[in-house]
């Protein structure tokens, strides 16, 4: 019962996150990139000295923290969607191909996936990011490059399970080509498991992007990435805690919601996967 309640709460939170990312920026009067020098480091409305003008206060350049968090939601969502599209299609294509063909091709490809999974992710991402420099496109490529392998492993295992089912045999004997079998019979049947991987990865992508932005190799300023905002607020945490604390709370809430939803989906769709994924 509490499980169901937390699932609904988490799902609601995710819907809010997506709506804010999509429409939030149009509803706010403050520009997330332009500050006012007269309103530097104003506290949030509820704190002493705060005003309703800036509900969540302002940062060092007098920019509205709420407007920046809302704009940051859009950036986080965009990074997630693009990364999952890129990593998901590369990983799924390789994994499905590998599982369907089998034999030595499969063995070689899976060794590669094992290798990719055995390398330290954040260090690789940091290295790549430092090489290519900070930009939206680069951060998306970097994170995709370190996360594709999980889709490959999952889709390969699922393809192995599906390819010997009766309906695939039937399709084959009725003369359907391999490509048609993969698209019509294999992919639709392995899709639920891949959706679980993708859901659990939303949290990983958000934290990875935020960490890289925090370290200065992610989304470049002045764009308000949540990780970058935490980094900016770090040096005056003593006098203005809200600049660092609030974007971090946004990260925690979204990632928590994603994890709850992901776990619930795992239980429903593929109970054998518990504990894996992220």
């Amino acid at each position: 019962m509490t499980r169901d309640l937390s699932f609904k709460l988490a799902l609601g939170l995710l819907v809010v996150f997506v709506l804010v990312a999509l429409f939030g920026p149009y509803l706010l009067e403050h520009d997330p990139l332009r500050g006012s020098l007269r309103a530097r480091l104003d506290p949030p409305a509820w704190a002493e000295g705060g005003s309703a003008e800036h509900l969540l206060g302002t940062d060092r350049l007098g920019r509205d923290v709420l407007a920046r968090i809302v704009q940051g939601a859009r950036i986080s969502l965009a990074v997630c969607l693009v990364v999952i599209a890129i990593a998901g299609s590369i990983g799924t294509a390789l994994g499905t191909f590998s599982g369907y063909v089998g034999g030595w091709v499969d063995r070689v490809l899976m060794r590669l996936v094992d290798l990719a999974l055995s390398l330290p992710v954040i260090l690789l991402a940091l290295l790549f990011a430092a090489v290519v420099g900070p930009s939206f496109l680069n951060i998306v490529i970097v994170i995709s490059m370190v996360l594709w392998s999980q889709y490959a492993r999952m889709s390969r295992g699922e393809t192995l399970r599906v390819k010997n089912e009766d309906y695939v045999d039937l399709a084959r004997t009725s003369g359907l080509g391999h490509v048609a079998i993969i698209f019509r019979h294999v992919l639709p049947n392995i899709a639920p498991s891949l959706i679980v991987v993708a859901t659990l990865q939303v949290g990983v992508v958000i934290v990875l992007e935020a960490s890289l932005s925090f370290l200065g190799v992610g989304v470049p300023p002045p764009n308000p990435s949540w990780g970058g905002m935490v980094a900016e607020g770090r040096s005056y945490i003593v006098t203005a805690w809200w600049v660092s604390a609030l974007p971090g709370i946004a990260i925690v809430l979204v990632v928590m919601a994603v994890n709850v939803v992901g776990d619930a989906l795992t239980d429903r769709i593929n109970p054998g996967l518990r504990g894996r994924g992220a």
Binding site: L123, L126, L127, L215, I237, V252
Partner: protein, 307 residues
């Protein structure tokens, strides 16, 4: 079993060589080493001489094998920063700080994680269980860079109980170890809770209860022992999480370990140090996974027969 062992060792070596190739290629793209080493007043002739000295005029594959050969002899070159320190010595000098931090973090997460997991399982459905599960959820969702800053704000700045950052006595370990360990603590707690619940509803625990054993004996001797196997299988992942997590945590806490060195050298485009530190971290990462594999082999007799 020997065959299995040899296979795993070979795999680990391939992973390490592959990583060295990735690092080599990346660091050649990262920075122009010549531009970094030359002074502003250098002439074109100086430039050419240095290119020749460093072997940068030779084909890429030749440069890679030279790099690999030197690395095998422990020669990773010198830092390009002012000190010109030996890259390997620099990395090794930072290693104890990182290992001691990871060790402390791992020890406390193991003890606390198992305790909390067992507590949640035997009080299933109560408020205590709910509290532990909320803590675990929070621990898996809070990014460590933010968590570290918040802990510094509350415990060092506000309450003044602990030092804000830096390296020193036991008090200096508390906040970084907590930050580094929280994600793993959450993972262990969830893992132990789930496998304890499974064990508590199993036939052999029912049998032990029927035999009239005390509840403590049932929980500790029969259920707990079996619930710890999954923790062992995930130990490699845990250790790996801590090694890579160190990059962020050590940066936040100004901890003089290899994680911070990795970050600083990447930012300074100090490529001999980058190569060394990334390779050393990867080696630890792979070694940890290898050890866990062997541990697992020792625990589970079926693996021995199959290998």
């Amino acid at each position: 079993m020997l065959k299995h062992l040899a296979g795993r060792l070979a795999e680990a070596l391939v992973a390490l060589v592959l990583m060295s190739l990735v690092i080599f290629l990346l660091s050649r793209v990262i920075g122009d080493p010549v531009a970094l080493l030359l002074s502003d007043s250098a002439t074109e002739a100086d430039r050419q001489l240095l290119i020749q000295q460093l072997g940068l005029d030779r084909p890429m594959w030749q440069q890679y094998f030279t790099f690999l050969g030197n690395a095998l002899q422990g020669d990773f070159g010198q830092s390009v920063t002012a000190g010109r320190e030996d890259a390997l010595e620099l990395v090794l000098s930072r290693l104890p700080a990182s290992l001691s931090l990871a060790g402390v973090a791992l020890a406390f997460t193991l003890v606390l994680g198992i305790l909390l997991g067992v507590l949640a399982a035997i009080t299933r459905g109560t408020l205590a269980d709910l509290a532990v599960r909320m803590l675990a959820l929070l621990g898996q969702s809070a990014p460590s860079f933010w968590l570290g800053i918040m802990l510094i704000y509350v415990f060092a700045v506000h309450l003044g109980w602990l030092p804000t950052s830096g390296f020193g006595g036991p008090a200096y370990y508390v906040l970084p170890a907590l930050t580094l360990g929280l994600f793993t603590l959450a993972a262990i707690t969830r893992l132990v809770r789930a496998s304890m619940l499974e064990a508590l509803s199993s036939e052999y625990v029912k049998l032990a209860r029927i035999k009239g054993l005390s509840e403590w004996s049932v929980v500790l001797r029969h259920a707990l022992g079996n619930s710890l196997i999954p923790v062992v299988t995930f130990m490699g992942t845990f250790f790996a999480t801590m090694i890579t997590g160190a990059v962020v945590v050590e940066t936040v806490f100004a901890w003089p370990g290899i994680g911070r060195l990795a970050y600083e050298s990447i930012m300074a485009r100090d490529f001999p140090v980058i190569q060394t530190v990334v390779l050393v971290i990867t080696a630890f990462f792979i070694l940890a996974n290898l050890i866990v594999d062997l541990l697992y082999l020792a625990i589970d007799p079926r693996m021995r027969a199959a290998g």
